[in-house]
Amino acid sequence: MNAATDTIRFENVSKFYGEVLGVNRITLRLEPGVTTLVGPNGSGKTTLMNLMTGLVQPSRGEVSVLGLKPSNATEFFCNVGYCAQFDSFPRGLTGFQFVLDSLMLFGMSDEDAHGLAVEALERVQLDAAAAHRKIAGYSKGMRQKVRLAQAVAHHPRVLVLDEPLNGLDPMARAESLALFQELGRQGMHVVISSHILDEVDRVSDRVVLITGGYLIAQGNIHEVRQEVRDKPMQLLVRCDSPELLASKMFAVNHCVEARLHADGRGVFVRTGDVDQFYRILNEIAVEGLVKIEAVAPFDDNANAIYQYLIGSEGGTV
């Protein structure tokens, strides 16, 4: 399989809605795995997803998904499933009929479509009794589940999910995230946009940060964090003598802050030079005065990175 048929590609893509900018000059290559699109409302996340699936067409540039174009609908949508954010359905259908009707358009037999519909609804944990009730009577969470079931039912290789956790209770969110992670591990492309960053962050292999229609950063969360050179990185060091460690850290130039953890068993350190920090920490450990138990980046997540890069609260994205 060559790179073009295994990646989602945006080549210098721009989209304008009249005079309004949707996205501008996006060049992006997404590998298999879970990718999270992060950005505030109106930043262009949905436009990127709609461009990927052909719901809108680029004003400039080219988009291809696994080497396919949406204009070749038959092949394209056998490989792509899109759970859009529009909370609406064709009238008068039950959840099961909705998923079944979608599957029948793939030209499969009644029996096969029936089997896949049942499997998809089980996958999203929508119980059988609810699946046979009219969608009009569903809660928001159930509607979200049935849309997700419709998107995954035909076993696509690319799954695009626009705010898939909206309306789900914590348990359902955790189950959905586990499903996305499992699909990503199986080699699928799972592209998610979500404002619940803390949760999607844990299952994402990479993030794409956009704002105002422009791509700001992309890649593995840790790599992106490393790229933010002008912002000190915050780390939590667990040790037996946090006060001593804090005093030693204050003595070096690159350390801009050292603060005791509330439980008294660790120190938050903000450093402008991570490499130097680790070198000095190793020296302190070798001296044997402080017993280091654990070191972990504390702001190495999409939310913090987003705040650094864009300057707004990531949680409201």
């Binding site: 038959t74 529009f86 009238r91």
Partner: protein, 287 residues
């Protein structure tokens, strides 16, 4: 020659059986929606209100010795030309065809179709087919019922007129006119609904255009559905007073030319509608 052979070979490689399955599935869903939902009641009313009036006449004002078949034939011709072609089918098709795509946009469910493994042209054509079947069933059925009710009161003479006399040829012509009117207006309203968020102003302009078309140059007369249909009318209706606005007087052409001309017009409109469908974008916020 080799290009022609390659084109044929390419056509044969297309997934026709899958397209046929998809076409039938879309058409079935859409026909069910058009004919068996509460929203369709007013189109039933438009189609069957003349039959209701004729039935009332038949019951209250039963044919007696002074009844005249030729007079009722004129009345029926007037109903088809003045009511069905210019009002009933026109607005009925507006209701049916403009809903096919625009209605889905208003309900925010069109994206499910556009995200399915179905060519957009196929979605459009299957919806058009479903609209055509629905409108022809409704209005064709209504015209047939009008015809039967109009002559059934004459007893054996009426039955003879319908089955063996001039009546049979007339109903054939009326049904052909109904089918062509549904296809012609349907294709235009489908296109209008793709171009405009609210197709009503465009439809009213078309209605006005159909009214003033007879006074237009002959070239422009070819861009009117009603002007083609007029040549197929088996009985002419004298245009007098206010009714002159609803009738169409055009240069005489043969029935075959009229049918072919209208079919070409429908085909052109559908080709352009398919082009618009391919370029359609989902932006519910602005729709």
């Amino acid at each position: 020659m080799t290009e022609f052979v390659a084109t044929i070979g390419n056509l044969r490689q297309q997934p026709w059986s899958l397209w046929w399955v998809q076409f039938r599935r879309f058409a079935r869903i859409e026909i069910r929606r058009n004919l068996f939902t509460r929203r369709a009641w007013w189109i039933y009313f438009l189609a069957f209100v003349p039959a209701l009036i004729i039935l009332v006449h038949l019951l209250v004002d039963a044919h007696r010795g002074n009844a005249d078949v030729s007079e009722d034939t004129q009345v029926l011709a007037g109903i088809v030309q003045l009511y069905y072609v210019r009002l009933g089918i026109f607005f009925g098709c507006l209701g049916i065809f403009s809903r096919l795509i625009r209605g889905e946009m208003i309900e925010r469910s069109l994206h499910y179709y556009l995200l399915s493994p179905v060519r957009r042209e196929l979605i459009l054509l299957s919806k058009f087919f479903a609209g055509a079947v629905s409108s022809v069933v409704l209005f064709g059925g209504a015209v047939l019922l009008d015809f039967v009710l109009m002559y059934v009161g004459y007893g054996a003479a009426g039955r003879d007129y319908m089955m063996h006399g001039q009546g049979f040829g007339q109903i054939e012509a009326y049904l052909l006119i109904t089918v062509l009117a549904c296809l012609g207006y349907g294709s235009i309203f489908l296109l209008l609904s793709l171009i405009f968020r609210n197709p009503m102003p465009g439809a009213l302009l078309l209605w006005g255009w159909e009214a003033i078309n007879p006074v237009m140059p002959s070239l422009l007369q070819k861009l009117s559905v009603a002007s083609y249909l007029r040549h197929l009318m088996p009985v002419s209706v004298p245009a007098e007073g206010i009714f002159a606005l609803l009738t169409v007087e055009t240069e005489p052409v043969s029935a075959w030319v009229a049918v072919l001309g209208l079919l070409v017009l429908i085909a052109l409109v559908l080709v352009y509608t398919c082009y618009r469908m391919r370029r359609l974008e989902i932006r519910y916020m602005t729709d």
